[in-house]
Assembly symmetry: C2
Homo-oligomer: 422 residues x 2
């Protein structure tokens, strides 16, 4: 795929090659990009034996290294996972192409027409861990938005990632899009990341997906803009005007429907005026769902079974069947708690009061703010953005779930008629 003589030269050369190829892709029409995506899907289905063979090499190594059953499960390219990758590419082919849209155009007093038009970002650098299906998902979304992609997956999945990329690149041979728009970095050491994130001339955006340690490492070293979220400490505030049954349903769904993901609920805030009424029934629901609770003093006065919470609990992203509970005197205190301890990911209020709903929406500036809905809806697919390539709690460029539109930017276009500046 690339020359193996000296890491520095090869990653820089690979990025340059991707940049040059990305210019051809940027000019490609929607029909050609969609045809490529469908060929890529067909390739994955046709060559699934090859994919499973290469995946078996990773799986053997994983077992030798004593990886957990959960890790091995995430690493496995089963028939179902391969089919899901192929179906995902076909789904992306069906999405609207964001490239070329003129977002707005206006006339200046001197007659100049000025507009903003959506264009690809250029080259995206994806840095991710175990799951090899990310290779196909990210490549598909980047291609649809007209971007080259450089994929740097983890060492556990390197054979699988290279195999998936090889199949996708081979499919491009039947199109006018150069295979070099999809690249896998074969080096899996951290030094490869350090080198990659210096290449600001040839890579336009870095998207790291993985643990907080990996993401902090990338941010610390990168000269290239990074779209990231460190963690999701999501809140639900149950107002004193909330329908208590709706509130309990939303809390259980937000916490327990899938506790291991970033949009799961971590801290429940309850208005003091309803704490005594609400918390016992809520506690019973949580216990029934297997959720352990760490509560503030006031909540423990109502439900003594709650373990005592410390400041660490307000900052915690448990990603597990554990919930922090705090009683707050009013909406002000709820907002302040969220601003102090939150991660700018997703917050919801449950309320029947119009004014409170508006005040919560206005004052909380997390990336997704909800009224009377489960935090689990904070997801590109659920919100109608199409597939999601990442989620950002950095306010620049794409704040919140990031779909195809987030993989583009806008340039200004100007139509003149010989205009010169006085």
């Amino acid at each position: 795929m690339i020359a193996q003589t000296g890491t520095t030269i090869t990653i820089a050369a690979l990025a340059r090659e991707t940049k040059l190829a990305s210019r051809v892709l940027a000019a490609a029409g929607t029909a050609e990009k969609d045809r490529a995506l469908r060929l890529m899907a067909a390739g994955l289905r046709r060559r699934r034996e090859f994919l499973r063979e290469r995946n078996a090499v990773d799986l053997d190594r994983a077992r030798e290294n004593g990886l957990s059953a959960a890790m091995i499960d995430r690493l496995t390219l089963s028939e179902a996972v391969i089919e899901a990758m192929a179906a995902g590419l076909e789904e992306v082919a069906g999405f609207a192409d964001p490239v070329g849209e003129v977002v707005r155009m206006w006339r200046r007093p001197n007659g100049l027409m000025v507009g903003r038009q959506r264009i690809p970002l250029g080259v995206i650098g994806m840095i991710y861990e175990a799951r090899p299906n990310v290779t196909a998902d990210a490549a598909g979304l980047c291609l649809k938005a007209g971007n080259g992609v450089i994929l740097r997956g983890g060492s556990e999945a390197i054979e699988s990632n290279r195999a998936v990329a090889a199949v996708l690149r081979d499919a491009l041979a039947e199109t006018t899009i150069p295979a070099a728009v999809i690249q896998v970095i074969p080096h899996t050491d951290r030094q490869a990341i350090t080198e990659m994130v210096q290449l600001e001339d040839d890579i336009d955006l870095i998207i790291p997906r993985g643990g907080e340690g990996l993401i902090r490492f990338v941010v610390e070293h990168s000269r290239i803009p990074v779209i990231k979220h460190y963690k999701g400490v999501c809140h639900v505030f149950v107002d004193d005007s909330a329908d208590p049954e709706m509130a309990r349903r939303i809390v259980i769904n937000a916490k327990a429907q899938r506790p291991g993901v970033c949009n799961a609920l971590e801290t429940l805030l309850v208005h003091a005026a309803v704490a005594a009424d609400f918390l016992p029934a809520m506690a019973a629901d949580l216990a029934a769902a297997g959720v352990a609770v760490r509560g503030c003093e006031q909540s423990r006065a109502v439900v003594p079974d709650f373990e005592p919470a410390t400041d660490e609990d307000w900052a915690a992203e448990y990603l597990d069947l554990v919930l922090a509970v705090r009683v707050v005197p009013d909406l002000d205190a709820a907002v302040e708690h969220i601003q102090t301890w939150g991660s700018n990911h997703t917050e919801a209020i449950v309320t029947g009061d119009y004014h409170r709903s508006q005040e919560f929406l206005r004052r909380v500036n997390s990336s997704v703010v909800m009224v009377n809905a489960s935090t689990r809806f904070s997801d590109g697919g659920q919100m109608g953005l199409g597939a999601e390539i990442g989620i950002s709690t950095t306010k620049l460029h794409a704040y919140g779930p990031m779909g195809l539109e987030g993989l583009t930017t806008t340039k200004y276009i100007i139509y003149g008629d010989g205009h010169i500046r006085p």
Copy 2:
């Protein structure tokens, strides 16, 4: 203004204070922000003697240090400059408030209403060099967009910057907006920049304005997103269907109307089919405007007076009455030259051909792409974006001139009715 015990603690503490104050500002209404801007303008006018006294300290030091007349001119807070700062703040008060706008809202099949609403970025870190008027301009734009601002100006202007900020902060005492939303870092060493750009929890965006060395230093050290442009190597391509008089007028305007700015023309590309006709008259116009030309071999075959150009000239941002000229065989070659040597700033085609105009607009993805207009129009004010706080050739977030809208981001807002995820 801030405690002086240990630089690290104080810059971090100052940033924290700004972040907390920025939350009050983010919730402030448009009327209150506009009132604050008018009070700030009145304060600058009323206290111009104080400003001139503090400015004199900087000017004395500048003369002792033998700064150039041009530098001293940029440093001077004359009556006219103070009036311009005040008028600028009043102008910003008249602009539409970007905050709160719901950009789009849609209904999901399950009835959830999902929308995007414009919110302030939070806290902006401005890093700039000599001109003290930037202090007022940046503070005004950041305030209007609901952001706190931390200003780190150069050592030459430190007394002036602090005086301007003090006047602006005093004006805020008559409002509900905390003075702490406008801060000047008193430390003018590079170490202060290094510390500032690590504070990713409290600063949301860094905007450096100054020489390429300063900007590269900031990018290298920052963990916070940076909006920047290193340089503006702008191109005009004169197509063979161009009206030659229009082309000459645009080239002279783009090069000579104000050569020291980033949207000035640096390289002229001429279609080979018209080079022999076009270049002699163009050369005469350029000579009359005092512009020295470095030309490619083909151009020198037509106008032997041109100095020979080297590859360095294609990459040069002269910021002076110097122009590089290259004859290219066709539009393809012009696009390739721009992609190879350009800086993604601003490019224009002069053409009478419809198809070429569209192809140029489609294929060139610089931040501003024009047909039949001078590159000097690449400016937030000229393009109708209101005042300009910076210009970006980084594709993320704000590509091209950045006005008030670029100082905001969008959050997602969701209206539910007890929705839980199945």
